[in-house]
């Protein structure tokens, strides 16, 4: 009797996370809200000291255990070259779309919306959008996009998103970490509390890396009163600067 009771208690404790999940009307975990990362991954995914505009920070890479991106030798050299030229070579500097997963950990908020058929994510940075169909549809073929093609499904309390059709023109961070157009991602979004969400991404690209690798980070919900996402029309500011016009 006691043993059963203890087992029951353990089961209840283990499912504490499930009990804490708020759910949408169709019974799915509710991931909705305005979220933002609070780390320096946008500067560098690996352990890094401070540099111009970027605070020091720990790695968000959880696999491989040494926290280093497993580049093929040619790619490690290219990454070094990117790093040395990052002030002019970073595509974000030209106000190009940030790609995935970088869009998630830029220092700008984004809003997740959920319906039974779609997850719709609106990012403040450059008003990027991602529409994630939940209906089992296939990726488009023979085309690529800056933000890729995302299709999702639920695994328990986790939203799993498979991203394909990414072009090779984005970087993963300001430090020059890059990929090819063969990159595929599996993102996992899991609500870990009322105002936190764990974001994990497995990154695979046989042209650039020796093996798949994984990043993981918490995302934090904005709870300020009347918080909303605004607009960051990046290239307009670039054009104004070129014209020498006042903002």
């Amino acid at each position: 009797m006691m043993r059963l009771g203890a087992q029951f208690l353990i089961a209840v404790l283990l499912s504490g996370a499930a009990l804490a999940q708020t759910r949408t009307a169709d019974g799915k975990p509710d991931l909705q809200g305005i979220w933002q990362a609070r780390n320096t991954a946008a500067g560098d995914l690996e352990d890094h000291g401070a540099s111009q505009g970027i605070p020091a920070g720990r790695r968000v890479i959880v696999d491989p255990p040494d926290g280093k991106i497993p580049y093929q030798p040619w790619a490690a050299a290219k990454r070094k070259e990117n790093y040395n030229h990052r002030a002019i070579a970073d595509p974000l500097g030209k106000c190009f779309l940030a790609g995935v997963p970088r869009i998630t950990y830029l220092p700008f908020p984004f809003q997740i919306f959920q319906t039974p058929q779609f997850i719709a994510i609106a990012y403040e940075y450059d008003h990027a959008t991602r529409t994630i169909a939940l209906n089992g549809s296939k990726h488009l073929e023979d085309i690529d996009f800056w933000m890729g093609d995302s299709r999702g499904h639920w695994e328990g309390n986790t939203l799993v998103v498979e991203v394909a059709d990414l072009n090779e023109q984005t970087w993963l961070d300001l430090a020059g970490d890059f990929h090819s157009d063969s990159m595929k991602l599996v993102e996992r979004y899991t609500r870990t509390g009322p105002d936190t969400l764990q974001y994990e991404v497995t990154i695979e690209d046989p042209k650039v890396f020796t093996r798949p690798w994984k990043i993981s980070m918490p995302l934090y919900r904005h709870t300020e009163k009347d918080f909303q996402i605004y607009e960051y029309e990046c290239h307009d500011y670039l054009e104004e600067a070129r014209k020498g016009a006042p903002k």
Partner: protein, 138 residues
């Protein structure tokens, strides 16, 4: 099918695809509808970009010199829905591109149709180009 019917169908096609005048008079501002041109060359590359995609072809001019021409097409979303794929054309493919020359005398043109060596002819024109209504006159 009469010419009139095919024009009617193509106009309906263009509208149905939701492809009205895009990129701001760029056709008439950049290209001359009175200067049609047909080029034979080989594919260098194709930039699948917005608001218009660009097909770069290497063309031998009358002196035997190779000139790279930039041929503007519809944007990727329109091309894709029209059956184009990134693999539709490969580097080195022989193509014939029909279109209209640029006004600024650069090696630039607005592509209307692209015909590959196997005889397949694909419509490529941006919606505001004259070909958007002419296509179908085979």
């Amino acid at each position: 099918m009469s010419k009139r019917t095919s024009i009617l169908l193509l106009a309906a096609f263009a509208l149905w695809r939701g492809a009205p005048a895009w990129a701001h008079h760029s056709f008439a501002a950049e290209y001359d509808a009175n200067k049609p041109i047909t080029l034979k060359g080989t594919v260098v590359k194709m930039d699948w970009v917005n608001p218009h995609s660009w097909l770069h072809i290497a063309v031998k001019d009358k002196d035997g010199k190779t000139v790279e021409w930039n041929c503007e097409t519809a944007p990727p979303n329109i091309l894709y829905r029209g059956g184009w794929r990134k693999t539709s054309l490969k580097e080195g493919d022989e193509v014939t591109v029909e279109g209209f020359q640029a006004k600024d005398n650069s090696a630039t043109m607005s592509a209307q149709n692209v015909t590959t060596a196997d005889g397949k002819r694909m419509f490529a024109g941006s919606a505001e180009s004259p070909g958007a209504s002419k296509n179908g006159d085979k």
